[in-house]
Symmetry: D2
């Protein structure tokens, strides 16, 4: 048995799938809050990799306070223009001097932001449609943890905090998550008129699922109102179709329902994101670490994106608990719903949480004692290898929003 | 019976008070995130009142993206100094021109920020220790709702969103909430060495409650290490004492446990907030609308502070559901735990939510049907008077964080 | 005879007073460029004094790149308001760490800026009507010169540069200089409707002097158009009157000639400076070190304000040459016009200029040889005591714009 | 004879070429002040051209307050890196809305700045090594002048101001001007180690000319100290050689004389400009409109770069007077030195200056009356075609710094 304080218990509620009302939301990668999350996390990864390369270990930093101030745009069928650029301020701390070396943290941050934006929101011309500036304070040296190339120690928890993960996703969650992901993937590849700012809200009441989508369309590819209307319909049909892959329930899809064609009030953009006109954004205000906002489930307020992956307990425990939950559901049969919570205690090694409690709803016919040991082993293994999370974050393998 | 879609149901979980593990957190008013919340909400109130006075109705605005970039300070027993000022950028939208009138929204915002800071964090000299700047974009005119002096109409929901409120507070929640509030009230009045940046984490396992406090001490009032140690102890005793007013359970209180007296690593500040040195902040990252972060309960991700109180459904429904929950618990006997959720539907009047569902845990011996009607009546009344929430926010009567 | 390379020669032009056309300009202390000069110089003085007090010598700094971005205002008879604040960015370099001490250069800068603005442009509410921010880079340590409390050495010239001074002022120069100074002094004391942004252009053709004034009036003190018209006339009469103290020539005075009363296009302001509405400013773009722009005379392009008074040769030589010129004219009879140029050579002590050349126009009946020796002695003495300039700048005794 | 008030008179001083001491300076295109001048002027040209294309005439704008805040760099033989980026804020006014059209002035400004920087200082990666932001206030609509495609009227002077031009350049001036221009041209093409930040000071005493050069070397192309020393020597030889094309006087050339090889204190940069490390810059602080700082001559304080070329009298008259002076010297024989001053009067058409006075030093054997008429005709023609200056500025044909 593990020496760690791991508890596996029945959960004191129904599985989310069985609750009467369920609400789920996902902000797509082009949403202003997600842009901030994405930049913050991409900058964090770049800093961590540069620290490793330059000084052999990750020094103290955090870039989790990036703020976006919306611009002004004048979209027009066939192609409009950005009038006043979007302004992004990367805010955080970073260690700039270490044993005689100067680490160009600001330049690293700007370069990472540029790469991210050019890859994810290519319609935005960097430095013209969007101005990115950076204010990184000097990180305090005493927060440095050893996470090096040659040597890795398990850090002490920097805070009394907790992380929470869930699995499996409910049908509604799967629809919302995958609809966004596939719209911004295969669909956008074929249909360049769809911008990356896609916001999806799923609501299930009993067996009726409503999916409400706000999808920013890109004017350059839409010559007129008819083309726009067709584009909206194509998004609706796409989601309707893929929804059947995740559920047998009734699904209604609504796209850009606030449009008023007569007034010409439609969701047309120059760049594919509402950040171009009036919608500000910031880190940690959107999706949780598993990519969803799911008020039916326990959530952590911690911003996961941009945090240091070595010693920031909020980030590590949110990612680790999600990872553990997914592994349990994959490996263990008979689980209908599962929540993993990891609670740190300041000053204790992070592989020794104050408590790791796992709450389980088993499927009919399965009793907890059948699976308890298996679950505990997976949790124990996850904690033993907690620094894998750090490594995978640094390598950009884990999504944080 | 109400024409509104109100459901009252048993909750599918134990009361939070009866759960095995409970976690609660509150960031005090001087925490960098709370400073942002406070400025954002204070600016919002000032704008709303100025709009009413100048044009007779509240025009479109949002100031919910305020960002704080930490400064640098050199605290010292007896009085240190701020080295590099804190920088705050108030970000949002506001209507600046209306029927030929120009509304000085930036000046209103700065004035409100100044008043708020001088009142709540008086140790900060405005314009020297903290620089506040403002970037308010032009709000789009078509979002204007009628909320005037002479006439009030119920606005349409601007979004498909939801709000959630809970009552009563659990013992742990009461301790956490009141400890911060009374520390920053009666205690600080008598003991000026306590800064407003007090962060409190409560954890209950069974009947054991641990309260962990990080309290920024102000150097000017502490001549030496002994005085600091006494100050820490006085905070500990104060909380220990007041905790008994809220619970009979065992309570342990830990204050500034990360201190290392030998190293001189203590939580000493010049201004009473960690924003002076390295801790950035932003709106909506801290306390929820009821002043707590309570992962045992359903939470909304919406930033409540700084949102327009007339038409922003996230703000209004979070405040209204909390208000309703509190009224139910006050007026109806036999309720052990209660959750009110209000779900809007875009385009419907906000007094007609898509669904208002109330989940109840009754006390032993009480059945839901006994109280169902009473509860429904209170919910109905709350919705019928939804614009009261707007009015109370504008008048500064409701706290949002 | 001096060991210094001092030349006294006849000038190869007529005295400015005798030239056919003469142009002179002065931007008053409330002009946007002068505001920048004033802040920059006031901040520089404060830094120098703080360095002396804290570490016993003046460390490297420069604050000569302050930039002002104009605001937006809505003036109105009886009192309008600032709509969008003026933004000032103090830019420069300063040494922040010295032998283990941290010098709070940003806070010192902001405090000095505030004091200056509250004293000189009291109509501007600091932090509301005007936002001041600061970006001081780290000064390079190797530029430190010894200018201490106990010991003063003569620094080496940091550049090959030159300074130039003139005396006496021509009649037109005296009128322009004193009109601004007395308007912002005795006149404004009695007549609060006059703002500090007074721009005066003097033009003399032969014996006809035209003085053109742009004077920002403050709306709060002017109830209506008649009051404004009276105010303009009062300024005109005041200048006309004092002009007679400086000349017997014909003087015409024009005040706010661009006004169009019918259109209501008048020079009315809320705060007494055009910086409130559309007029940006920066250091070194306005008055030269003697307070005037005088294209009839040799001028240096160096910004004098905000430069380090210890080792910045441009600043020191402009102030010293002016000081020498004034002393010569005061002490030596028979001089009609005099120009002092000091040319440094990088690496030489600044009391040993590469060349100090003095060009003189003597009065009729005086030959150069009569006064040559006296002049040379004064120049020699001025150079020998060059560090007095530094001391007087630090003590705020010398005006730089 | 012209109806304009043109005076041609002998100058009351020797030709600059014949004065005993002469000082001339030029800041190369990569100097921080010149970078600001260049961006400001390039942005101005782009705005003017866009206005013409979009609305058929040039609307009100000014971009003459651009400010550069230096970065931080870590140069190293073989290639170092920028640590903290240079920050440029484009400040000014521009008309953003005109007859229902929105002109994207901020985007135009950023695009122009980018093009300029990528062309002139290619070593700087835009958006990484240098962050450019823009704050353009709304220009006041009533300042619009007609300068259109179909119709051009002569605008009224917006100010009482003056411009001044000189010809021919003295030998020292020619050396300084051409040394910089050819170093940044043919020399840099062949020798990529030379950066564009070349600052040249020429000093002539009698027949001895000293040329002092500060030349920023680019580390990427210099593997070691020997290569650096060779590079410095190559610059010295190049200037020494070309100097003989402009003078028969003795010329000494000094390059990077502040270097200290033993200390390793040399002028090595990553990007070829001192803006990368500690040297701030702003518009109008460097070269005058003719590309030189020449205290021996009358100079205007007006910043020429970034001003509106239609109605800004300071800009137009400085460029026109220089243009006229050059044409006179080209077309008229027997002129040794010439100064053209144009003085505007507010409200008068700019082709009717209050006075145009031309001061001439003729060559031996030439009397003024021989050339007076010719000169006057050229001045008259220049004024008659004053709007040509506007056109040439818009087309980017005239240099302003």
């Amino acid at each position: 048995m593990s020496e760690r304080n791991i508890r596996v218990e029945p959960i004191d509620r129904r599985a989310v799938e069985d609750q009467e009302v369920e609400i789920v939301e996902r902000k797509g990668i082009g949403h202003p809050d997600s842009i901030c999350d994405g930049i913050a996390e991409h900058v964090a990864g770049a800093l961590a990799r540069e620290y490793l390369e330059r000084v052999g270990k990750v020094l103290h930093f955090n870039t989790d306070e990036t703020q976006l101030v919306a611009g002004e745009a004048a979209p027009a069928f066939g192609g409009g223009e950005v009038v006043d650029p979007i302004y992004v301020l990367i805010v955080g701390r970073a260690t700039k001097r270490y044993e005689g070396q100067t680490i160009p943290t600001e330049t690293i941050a700007l370069k990472a932001a540029r790469e991210y934006l050019e890859s994810e929101i290519p319609q935005l011309t960097y430095g013209e449609d969007i101005v990115v500036d950076v204010k990184l304070g000097e990180g305090s040296g005493d927060l440095q943890e050893v996470f090096g190339e040659d040597e890795v120690t398990v850090p002490m928890a920097n805070d009394t905090s907790f992380g929470v993960g869930h699995a499996p996703l409910s049908e509604t969650e799967q629809i919302v998550y995958n609809a966004e992901s596939r719209l911004n993937g295969e669909f956008a590849d074929d249909n360049p008129y769809l911008g990356p700012d896609v916001k999806i809200m799923g609501k299930r009441e009993g067996d009726q699922i409503d999916v409400t989508v706000a999808a920013a369309m890109i004017d350059e590819y839409l010559p007129n109102m008819d083309a726009y209307i067709d584009a909206v319909e194509s998004v609706r049909e796409f989601i309707e179709e893929i929804a059947t892959e995740y559920t047998d329930r009734d699904v209604n899809v609504y796209v850009n329902t606030a449009d008023d064609y007569d007034e010409g009030a439609i969701y047309l953009t120059v760049t594919g994101t509402s950040a171009e006109q009036g919608d500000d954004g910031s880190v940690g205000r959107g999706n949780r670490a598993n990519g969803l906002i799911s008020p039916n489930r326990s959530m952590s307020m911690e911003a996961t994106s941009g945090k240091n992956p070595v010693n920031h307990i909020g980030k590590i425990y949110n990612l680790l608990s999600t990872d553990i939950a997914e592994r349990v559901v994959e490996d263990v049969d008979g689980i209908r719903d599962l929540r993993v919570r990891l609670l740190s205690q300041i000053g204790r090694p992070i592989d020794q949480p104050h408590v790791a409690d796992v709450h389980v709803v088993t499927e009919d016919g399965v009793v907890l004692s059948d699976v308890e040991e298996e679950i505990e082993a997976i949790v124990d293994d996850g904690l033993a290898n907690v620094t894998d999370i750090t490594r995978r974050v640094i390598d950009g393998e884990l999504s944080t929003f």
